[in-house]
C-alpha cells in the first residue's frame, strides 16, 4: 500500500479542501512565527538585568493596541470562516440523478449494493465524473465511512439513513475505512475505494453475477414477503397504494405531514405504527427480523422505481 492511496485528491472538491488547508497552514504558520518572534525578542531583550530602556507605556497606547489586535483577530477569523463555509456551501446542493449506491455497515464489514444489482463486500467501485450518492445505514453501532481521497466522511447510524454525495474525478485505487470507534475490530474495518472510468464501471457492473437490478429483486421480495397481498390496488385489505409514494408528501392520521423518503419507507416497514397514513387503520405487522437490511435496500429501491415510472407516465405526484 502506498501513501498515495490515502493522500491523492481524487475529486475537484478534495482539491478545493486541500487549498483551504494549505491557506490555513500559511496563515497559522505566519501567526505562529509572529508569536515566536515576539516572545524570543522580548525574552532576550528584556531578560533580567539587561541594560535596555524600560518604562511605562502611555495608557492611551495600551487601549489602542488592545482594540487593534482584537479587531484584527476578529476580521481574520471571520474571513477564514467565510472562505471555508463558502466552499462547503458550494458542495452542498445535492446533484440530481445521482447514481445511488446503498451502504450497509456492520461490525466489522462494509456491504455495498449498486443499483444494477451488483453487491460487494469491503470494496466500493464507483464511476468517475459521475455524481454518486451513498445512502447508508448500520446494522448495529455507529460507524463512519471515511474516504480519505475525497476528504469526506459521514457517520452511519443504526436504523437511520445518512447520505454522502460526491463526484470523483481521478480514476485509481484508494482506501476506505471506518472512522467512528465501533468496537473490537474497528481498525480492521477497511477496504478499497476504486474509482473507474464510466465505461470501465459499466463493464464491471455487467460482469457481476447478480444479474437483476435492485428494483427487480425488490419486486420479487415485495411478492414473497407478502407485501403485495395488501398493497395492491383492488386488494381486499385496506392498505395505501404505494405507486409513486416515494418523494410524495404523506398526510398521517395524527395530523402530521411527512415526505416519504428512505427513512420514512424504512420506518413504515419496521415500525408500521409509527407513521400511520391518514384514513388507514394500523393493521400492518412489523417486518422487523423478517426483512434483512439487504432486503430493505431492495424493497426501497423497488418502491422508488415505482415512483420513477409513475412520474414518467404523468401520474399525480
Amino acid at each position: 500500500m502506498s501513501l498515495a492511496e490515502w493522500t491523492t485528491a481524487a475529486s475537484d472538491y478534495a482539491e478545493r479542501i486541500d487549498n483551504i488547508f494549505w491557506l490555513l497552514c500559511t496563515v497559522s504558520g505566519l501567526i505562529l512565527l509572529l508569536v515566536m518572534a515576539l516572545v524570543i525578542t522580548f525574552v532576550i531583550r528584556y531578560r533580567r538585568g539587561s541594560q535596555v530602556e524600560r518604562g511605562e507605556l502611555p495608557p492611551s497606547l495600551k487601549h489602542e493596541v488592545e482594540i487593534g489586535w482584537t479587531a484584527a483577530t476578529l476580521f481574520l477569523f471571520l474571513f477564514i470562516f467565510w472562505w471555508a463555509a463558502s466552499a462547503e456551501l458550494a458542495a452542498l446542493s445535492p446533484p440530481r440523478n445521482a447514481l445511488e449506491i446503498h451502504v450497509v455497515a456492520k461490525q466489522w464489514m462494509w456491504r455495498f449494493q449498486h443499483p444494477g444489482g451488483a453487491r460487494e463486500i469491503d470494496t466500493l467501485h464507483v464511476p468517475a465524473d459521475t455524481a454518486v450518492r451513498l445512502a447508508m445505514t448500520s446494522e448495529d453501532v455507529i460507524h463512519d465511512l471515511y474516504l480519505p481521497a475525497l476528504r469526506l466522511k459521514q457517520d452511519i447510524l443504526p436504523d437511520r439513513y445518512t447520505y454522502l454525495s460526491f463526484t470523483a474525478t481521478k480514476p485509481g485505487t484508494y482506501y476506505l475505512t471506518c472512522a467512528e470507534f465501533c468496537g473490537t475490530d474497528h481498525s480492521r474495518m477497511g477496504g478499497k475505494f476504486v474509482v473507474l472510468s464510466p465505461a470501465e464501471y459499466a463493464r464491471w457492473t455487467a460482469a457481476q453475477p447478480e444479474g437483476d437490478d435492485l428494483a427487480h429483486q425488490g419486486e420479487a421480495l415485495f411478492r414473497t414477503l407478502g407485501c403485495s397481498g395488501c398493497h395492491t390496488p383492488g386488494s381486499s385489505v385496506h392498505a395505501p397504494d404505494l405507486r409513486g409514494v416515494y418523494g410524495r408528501l404523506v398526510h398521517l392520521s395524527d395530523g402530521r405531514t411527512v415526505t416519504a423518503d428512505e427513512a420514512y419507507l424504512r420506518d413504515s416497514i419496521l415500525l408500521p405504527n409509527k407513521d400511520v397514513v391518514a384514513g388507514f387503520s394500523p393493521i400492518m405487522p412489523s417486518f422487523k427480523g423478517v426483512a434483512t437490511e439487504a432486503d430493505l435496500v431492495k424493497l426501497i429501491a423497488y418502491l422508488k422505481s415505482l415512483s420513477a415510472s409513475a412520474s414518467r407516465q404523468g401520474a399525480p405526484p
Partner: protein, 561 residues
C-alpha cells in the same frame, strides 16, 4: 519557625505566636488529614489523589504508544488496546484534568488570594474530596474487573447495547466524580462573592481568582448535563429504556448533543484555570502588571459563555443539519477571539519586563507555545470542510492534546513550582526543574507534531492496527512519549526530595505581590491573623515589586500610575 520570626515585617503576617506555626503542624495523625476541613489540607489530599491517577492514566497510554510502534501490534489484543485508550481517556479527563488546577491550587490559593480564612463551606469541600475518592473507587473497580472499551465518549448504541466491558461501573464513577466538581464550583462561587477581604473589589482580584470564578460557573452549569447523559446510558444498558435506540423511536445522536453540551465546556474547565495560573506567573517573572487586565477578565468571561454554544462542532459528520454546522462553525471561530487576545496580552506583559527564567516561567512559556499551536489548529477544525476531512483522525487527537493537555499540564506544573515554596515551605532544585520544563515542551512537540501530519494524511484515531505508511510517524510519536515519561517522573523525584530535604523557603521567595505571599510559608491554619485590607490593584510590580537580587538597580525608571 525562625523564618517566620525574621519576616515579621510583612504587612499581613501573623503577629501573635500560636501553638502551631503552620497548617502542616496542625496534627500529624492520619485522621488529622482525612477529617480536616482546612482548604489547604484538602488541596494536598486532592494533589496526592490526582497525581496517583495521572500516573495510572499515563501508564495506560504508555502501553498504547509502545504497541503502536508496530503497525500490526505486537503484545496487545485489540480488546486490550481498546480498553487501555478508553481507560486513559476516562482517567485523564475526569480524574486528572478536570480537577487538576481547581481542586489543588484553587482550593489552596483562592482563600489566600482574596484574604479569607477558608472557603465558604469547608465541610462541603471535604465532602467533594470524598466524592472524588468514591468515583475513583468505581474506576479502580472497572480496571480490576476487566476494563471498559467504549472510548471515553460512551457513544450509544456501542456503550448501551454492544460493548462487553464494565460500562455501568465506569459511568457511575464519572457520575459521582461530577458531583465533586459541582461541590467545588459552588464553594468557589460563594467564596468569591462572600469572603473577599475589605478593599478586594472584583477588579482587584488576581486573574487566578477570576479564572477560578469563571471555571466554577462552567462546572456548576455543565456538569449536571453530563450526569444526565450518563444516567440515560445506564438506564438504557441496565434497564432497557430505549432513549437512544432508533429502532424504538429513540435517537443515538441525541446522546452526542447532551454529552458534548458538557464535554465541550469541560475543555474550558481544563484550560481556564491554566490561563489563570500563567497570568500570575507571567506578571511575576516579567516584573510587570498584566497587560490589559480588564480585557483578560472579559476574555475569561467571554470564553466561559461562548464555550457553552459551540458543542455542535464535535458533530459535523454526525448527521446534524448543514445549517447547524455553519452556526457552530461560526461560534467556534468567535470563541477563539478571546483566546487569541489572551495570548497577545501575555506576550505584551513581557514587553519592557525584567524577565527571569526560573522553572515556573519556563513552564509558562511552554504553555504559551503549546496553547498557540493548539489554538491555531483549532481554527482548522472549526472550518466545516476541514473538520469533515480530519475529524476522528490523529489531527484531532493532536489538536486537543496540544491545547488542553499540553496547555493544562504545562500550567499545572508551572503553578506547582511557583507555589511550591508557599505550600511546603521548602525550595525545589531549580536546575532539575528547568531541565524538566524544557524536556516536557520538547517531548510534547515530538509526540504530537507527527500526529498532526499523519492525521491530515488520513490516519484514523482509536486504531489498534494501521497501514505501514504511517509507521514512521507513529514511531516518532512514541519516542516523544518516552521523552514525556522522563519529563513527568523527574519532578516526582526532585519535588519528593525537596519535601523532606529541601532548603527552607522564605515567605516570598519570588518577591511576588499576591496576598498569598504576604503570609508565612507554609501559611498558618487561619491564613491571616489579621484580616488584610487591600488598597491597590493586583500586580503592582513596578511600585511594590522588590528587586530580584539585593543590590540590583531597579530597572523601572518611570513608576506606574
Amino acid at each position: 519557625m525562625t523564618e517566620v520570626a525574621t519576616d515579621m515585617t510583612l504587612p499581613f503576617a501573623p503577629v501573635e505566636e500560636t501553638g502551631a506555626a503552620s497548617y502542616l503542624d496542625e496534627g500529624h495523625t492520619i485522621m488529622s488529614w482525612l477529617a480536616t476541613t482546612d482548604h489547604k489540607r484538602i488541596a494536598i489530599l486532592y494533589a496526592v489523589s490526582i497525581t496517583i491517577f495521572f500516573f495510572i492514566g499515563g501508564a495506560a497510554i504508555a502501553l498504547v504508544r509502545l504497541e503502536l510502534i508496530e503497525p500490526h501490534g505486537w503484545f496487545l489484543t485489540s480488546d486490550a488496546y481498546n480498553r487501555l485508550f478508553t481507560l486513559h481517556g476516562i482517567i485523564m479527563v475526569w480524574f486528572f484534568l478536570v480537577p487538576s488546577i481547581p481542586a489543588t491550587m484553587g482550593n489552596f490559593l483562592l482563600p489566600l488570594m482574596i484574604g479569607a480564612r477558608d472557603v465558604a463551606f469547608p465541610r462541603l469541600n471535604l465532602l467533594s474530596w470524598y466524592l472524588y475518592v468514591i468515583g475513583a473507587a468505581f474506576t479502580v473497580y472497572v480496571v480490576i474487573a476487566g476494563g471498559v472499551d467504549t472510548g471515553w465518549t460512551f457513544y450509544p448504541p456501542l456503550s448501551s447495547n454492544y460493548a462487553n466491558g464494565q460500562v455501568v461501573a465506569a459511568a457511575a464513577g464519572v457520575f459521582v466524580v461530577g458531583f465533586s466538581s459541582i461541590a467545588t464550583g459552588v464553594n468557589f462561587i460563594v467564596t468569591t462573592h462572600m469572603l473577599r477581604a475589605p478593599g478586594m473589589t472584583w477588579f482587584r482580584l488576581p486573574l487566578f481568582c477570576w479564572s477560578m470564578y469563571t471555571v466554577s460557573l462552567v462546572m456548576v452549569l455543565a456538569t449536571p448535563v453530563l450526569a444526565m447523559s450518563l444516567l440515560l446510558i445506564v438506564a438504557e444498558r441496565a434497564f432497557g429504556l430505549p432513549v437512544f435506540d432508533a429502532a424504538h423511536g429513540g435517537d443515538p445522536v441525541l446522546f452526542q448533543h447532551i454529552f458534548w453540551f458538557y464535554s465541550h465546556p469541560a475543555v474550558y474547565i481544563m484550560i481556564l484555570p491554566a490561563m489563570g495560573v500563567v497570568s500570575e506567573i507571567f506578571a511575576c517573572f516579567a516584573r510587570r502588571q498584566v497587560f490589559g487586565y480588564a480585557f483578560m477578565v472579559y476574555a475569561l468571561l467571554a470564553i466561559a459563555v461562548i464555550g457553552f454554544m459551540v458543542w455542535g462542532h464535535h458533530m459535523f459528520v454526525a448527521g446534524q443539519s448543514q445549517l447547524a454546522n455553519l452556526v457552530f462553525s461560526f461560534l467556534s471561530f468567535m470563541v477563539a477571539v478571546p483566546s487569541a487576545i489572551k495570548v497577545f496580552n501575555w506576550i505584551a506583559t513581557m514587553y519592557r519586563g525584567q524577565i527571569g527564567f526560573e522553572a515556573p516561567m519556563l513552564y509558562a512559556l511552554g504553555f504559551l507555545g503549546l496553547f498557540t499551536i493548539g489554538g491555531l489548529t483549532g481554527l482548522f477544525l472549526a472550518s466545516v470542510p476541514i473538520d469533515v476531512a480530519t475529524t476522528d483522525s490523529y489531527f484531532v487527537v493532536a489538536h486537543f492534546h496540544t491545547i488542553m493537555v499540553g496547555g493544562t499540564v504545562s500550567a499545572f506544573m508551572a503553578g506547582i513550582h511557583y507555589w511550591w515554596p508557599k505550600v511546603t515551605g521548602r525550595l525545589y532544585h531549580e536546575f532539575f526543574a528547568q531541565f524538566a520544563a524544557i524536556t516536557m515542551f520538547l517531548g510534547f512537540n515530538v509526540t504530537f507534531l507527527p500526529q498532526f501530519v499523519m492525521g491530515w494524511q488520513g490516519m484514523p484515531r482509536r486504531y489498534h492496527t494501521y497501514p505501514e505508511v504511517f509507521q514512521v510517524w507513529h514511531v516518532i510519536s512514541s519516542l516523544g512519549a518516552g521523552i514525556l515519561v522522563v519529563a513527568y517522573t523527574l519532578p516526582l523525584i526532585y519535588l519528593g526530595w525537596s519535601l523532606f530535604r529541601g532548603e527552607r523557603a522564605s515567605d516570598n521567595p519570588w518577591h511576588a505581590t499576591g496576598l498569598e505571599w504576604q503570609t508565612p510559608s507554609p501559611p498558618p491554619k487561619e491564613n491571616f491573623h489579621h484580616v488584610p485590607v487591600i488598597d491597590a490593584e493586583p500586580y503592582m510590580y513596578h511600585e511594590t515589586g522588590h528587586p530580584r537580587e539585593p543590590g540590583e538597580p531597579t530597572p523601572v525608571r518611570e513608576q506606574g500610575e
